[in-house]
Symmetry: C5
Subunit: 357 residues, 5 copies
């Protein structure tokens, strides 16, 4: 049973490290603001929550269970139960993992549950320990601070994914390998996973920022709206990453096909040059009794010259048809979409319509 409890009494004094009895008293006083934060919620904690707060057992079960729960709001009349997801920054998998935060919000209390310790919650704990500021504007505001912090902590991971995507973009042109493909696919799955928790969260925050729940007061709603906007931004960035990954995939496949093409050209070139010449040599290696050329004094040198000439000619011809390239350097023509200022100005003039000026 590892919970931290803070109580800001109506006189503005912050009580720390409350015992179970103090928590119950604070809860029943219906004044001030009580915050209980439980990390790695156990069955014991569950009983504690039932005993003191009377929350619904299904909601508590969601806190205890280590399964993943989709973001949602349950309205229990006198309090809300919210599940939101952020990034599990301690996960060690190759694919981004999410972390859940379950929050009960009442008029005078906030109870937060999470199965891993979260940087975002820790940072709020630190703020509260210092000067209790996040608790001074009420339960809805404290819940907002927790959710906002969780959501904003997704951005560093998006940044990291963006760096990885740029690495891949470079590697896919320079030196595409099977491992590049795997990196692309892992990136895609990570982006999809972030998308999949953000999409329902958008709806959750949208509902919180509307007039739907009386516990969220007018003043706090605009802050929830701001979190909503951040989720929209995260989704946009995720979409861009997905496009980038899709393009990297297309480039990868094309690079692989190109290399195979190149291999085939080398083979064809070699065969086209040497098979006919081998025939020539083979012919003069035949043992017919009457082969006049064999007696010619310069016959051998004529053949040698012919062989040399053919090799040079065919290579030049293939070179001219761009079949074979000595170097791999490819100049990618940049086609910036930027429009020149003077062209823009002429557009602007044209757009200055007679209709409304």
């Amino acid at each position: 049973m590892a919970f931290k409890a803070y109580y800001l009494s109506p006189d503005g004094y912050l009580h720390r490290d409350l015992s179970e009895k103090e928590v119950r008293e604070a809860f029943q006083s219906n004044e001030g603001l009580l915050w209980v934060d439980i990390c790695e919620t156990t069955m014991e904690d569950a009983e504690f929550l039932v005993r003191n707060f009377g929350f619904h057992r299904l909601a508590i079960e969601d806190c205890v269970s280590t399964l993943i729960h989709a973001p949602k709001i349950d309205d229990f009349g006198d309090h809300l139960f919210i599940i939101v997801h952020g990034i599990n920054h301690k996960g060690e998998s190759d694919i981004v993992e999410t972390a859940e935060l379950a929050i009960f919000i009442g008029p005078h209390f906030v109870v937060s549950n999470h199965n891993e310790s979260l940087y975002s919650v820790d940072s709020i704990v630190n703020l509260v320990e210092r000067d209790a500021r996040p608790m001074k504007r009420g339960a809805d505001f404290l819940a907002y601070v927790l959710i906002d912090s969780l959501i904003d902590n997704v951005l560093p991971t998006i940044d990291r994914m963006s760096d990885v995507a740029d690495d891949i973009d470079e590697e896919v042109i320079r030196n595409p390998q099977q491992s590049t493909l795997e990196a692309i696919l892992k990136l895609k799955r990570s982006v999809l996973r972030v998308h999949r928790v953000m999409a329902p969260q958008r709806e959750v925050l949208n509902r919180l920022s509307r007039r739907e729940f009386s516990i969220i007061e007018e003043e706090a709603r605009i802050f929830y709206r701001d979190v909503y906007d951040h989720i929209v931004r995260i989704e946009d960035l995720g979409q861009s990453l997905r496009d980038q990954a899709d393009n990297a995939l297309a480039t990868h496949l094309s690079s692989v096909a190109n290399r195979q093409n190149e291999t085939m050209r080398v083979l064809s070139t070699v065969a086209t040059i040497f098979l006919p010449l081998a025939l020539v040599a083979g012919i003069y290696g035949m043992n017919f009794e009457y082969m006049p050329e064999l007696g010619w004094h310069w016959g051998y040198f004529a053949v040698l010259g012919f062989v040399g000439a053919v090799i040079v000619t065919v290579l030049s011809w293939f070179w001219a048809r761009k079949w074979i390239a000595w170097s791999r350097r490819q100049v990618t023509r940049v086609r910036p979409f930027a429009v020149e200022p003077d062209k823009l100005v002429s557009y602007i003039d044209q757009m200055r319509k007679w209709s409304h000026l």
Copy 2:
């Protein structure tokens, strides 16, 4: 006619193994809770239902017919008719099969129909036999317990699919074969099938957990909401499996292309080395009378040396260009998306905005 009937009379006594007459009396008493469970519903059962309960013939037809029926709710005013799907754990096909459960819910009765015996219903029967607990909270709660048990039994199959997906992920890198492709495609079809029954079920449970049907009382609705949440979770897990299968497919195709590429390189390397050398040998095998080199004492050894030198040179060159690799081992660079704690802290500081603190 193989039905099991239980009647919990208002005095809390559980009557077991009711006869048709007792069933009719219990139904007409409009008190207590009657539960009739029919496995492998026959025409005889159908007549039984019409005779005693007066259900609509179309609904009964859905129970009797062995065709698949999509999940739905039909509201007959004084009772509901619900069809939900779980997994048919006894199916032996390579592709996941679903099992139907059709339930009539009235204020004082529940009639459940299924064409195969279901583990989930069996387990509820056991509970009822023991102490009748699932029947003590009314018809809506008993129906919930049946549906919840059916839906939760989907999770073991999802787990199994997840194991198969992990196996495939490994095989697709280690040793991709045509059979791997088939396994991927079967997994995908199974995931799609689960998705296709879960999606409409989400809607069914959503309606049951709203205030739409008076038979489902306020208190029970939150439990139906919980089943809804479970379906959402199953859908999320299914989506992840689908992403995994899609990635396995992409990796498979890329592996196959890579192997072909490798084959081509071996061929090209061999041809590039030996065709020119064969020409050299062919030239010195010509029968011209005047070929000065043939008389040179070390001519033969010069040619042998040249041949050896060319082979070594070309192989080294290809090796340097990474055209040929002696071993297949590929080190997949792991790029974890985890962000370092100190970087996170600096983000958090940056995010502590002047605007709201």
Copy 3:
């Protein structure tokens, strides 16, 4: 002018083969139930409908025109005009074709139009001829019987498509050819076509089963709802077929790529073995004056032995690397998704939550 007209007078007597005058009288009596069925509607029939029923010319035009009309309901206040689609079982195209049925429903009449003779309508005609039963429950019920029969007749075609899909599944693994691809694509187009008429029909039936049209009475609505459910089932089956066809396509493409791979391997193997050996033979065929090995007694046999040894070694090596396979038999490992009963039971126990029992 080939119409069949039946009139069930209020006294329960069925009049057959009505003349135009009798039809008009029956229509104007506003009693009983008049059914006029027109096959291959001509301009003459159109005039007949305008003259006697006063239907809107646009609706009649839809009946006459042989173009395809999307499923729809037009509400003309005192009667409905409905277009629904079934399968044209007489079509001979490789791709499934649909057949239209246009129905006018009034309080005391049903007028059905179709451009081809339909098995489903014929079967209702037979029923009516026998004992008039489908007409005894009113116009809305007769219309339902017509529509239900049309929709149910889609199922045999779905079955046939399913058989074709299974054939393809087998062929695509055993012996994929260009014609297999064409069969897959035709199947997909057929499925899409069925989907494309069923999707709007779902909406049509949904509207008919709601309280939207007063001509459809409460009692009949549940039957329309049943047709709606059948359409949902057809759509589900169609979706499964589409998945199957998509998988067959993926398997086909992969099989083709595999065969090409195999071809390349044969080529590479042959070249890798014989090009170097040809060089050896070529070298000993050179005409240098001083080639000591040529004088060795066992030189020739040494070369023969070397050639044999190389062939055996390389083939064994490729064999060990699984590059070449003597037989094509591939054992597809079956991975059933079925979960063992005892594992299931442990899941069920785990799921028996403390929260609600």
Copy 4:
């Protein structure tokens, strides 16, 4: 300033070729029906419209501008401004182009604008010139006739695209080339373009056929509904074309892959036959002093026989494995989806359910 103006006065007389003054008088009379049709609307026309009709400058700007405007309805209270699209039958691009028709509809006037001359408008002009019939039922009906004519003129183009699609279907099997691919892609883009103007138009016509605008009277609405149905049909036909083009694309790619496969097989066959035989010939061309076979009398013929035997054997073996085919003819097995009548009848019997007859 090239406008045509017609005025049908309340007494039923049609005035032709009105001057600007007459147009203004007709407009201000608020009686009868005035139709002004402007082709290639210029700034001068724009001033004319402002001066005499007082239309909003933004709407007029849409008429003058040669940019493409999406279909829409603007409701200006006493009149509507509608933009609809048809096909530009005079376009010469490889990709279908659309043509705009902008219509102002008031209670007693219709003003139509288009930047190209349109066959559909011309045909209505002809009808009006003849007997003024399209103008006799009011402004909403005249507008309907214009829109209906424009939309129906899309069908010939759909027909043409369908012919092209059938051509492609044949060519893609008979003789697929790069130009076939381009034809497929152009067809797809054309279909998409038609779809992209039809989709919003569906919404426009839907709104016109509802009770939304008082200018469109009850009686005319059903005609607008009919145009809506035509658009639905065009969309359906377009969808079928798109499926056909997608299939043609898949077949094309598969054909190309097949041909490459065939090329590889020829190569492999040739190499497999001749490389080993060349080795045999090379071995007997070696100059070892002691090669007993060389002295055998029938040695040479034995080698010749061996060579012939190998060629015949390998070719037969490849032939048996279907690696090589002498002719390209492929019998495509037709798998009609049609169900046999007797099978259908048995289905129908089975479907005649006990529940409702």
Copy 5:
């Protein structure tokens, strides 16, 4: 602190370059129209806005932050806060970048913020400096002019992208390279980015043009509707570009496959011709003692003739089968979709239905 402030007093006089004090006075007068434009908003500007206008800190934060914010409207009761996006014409990336404009609109003031200098805002500044016209119709109209100018400035970039797409279309047929692929993918990402900012903007403008916000007066709404129409047009153009890019991608991949095919054919042709001939030469190079042909006088010339005949025959055969082409020119058959006028006329006649004329 780099802001430009204009104040149009109620007497129609334009005050330029207001100091902070004048701005505050103008704001508090609640008359006339105050416009403050801030480029590269700093924390100092933020304090300025809080001090003088009392805007919400979250809104100001959106102005200051250089992160990307999705288009949105926040309604603060007495003023609106709008974020819209245009093109950043100064961006130098290969992929189109967007630029944000954040606008506060009150009854008597407009405050615009942007982090880069924008051509569109500059042009409005110029107009205001000249004769204050854009300010004479109120705050809602000024805001419209700013947004309209921003959106219209997207068109030159769309034009530029269209030019690039046409270039690519040509290059992809003429000379497809890896760099072509990259250009296609960059174009696609640019189109997607434009789409991704335009889609939510459509919603923003839709809301502004409805009766939702009292600050936007009836008269101005139709202008906002016009901007909405422009966004729809930009989206349509973007969609066309996307289709074009997708087609270019398909053509590119097909071209690459075709070239590989061609390479393989050259190789196969060479091998098919020269490997058998080399065998012939090899056979006559064998050293058997008894080879009767070797003694024939014309034997050598017979072999030479045979070699020549084979080469000519095989090349002709391949040529006839279209395996090899001397030139690369491919005549793309144009299949215009235009329908001939007379065919159209017959359609039109057919469409002149009896039903409504």
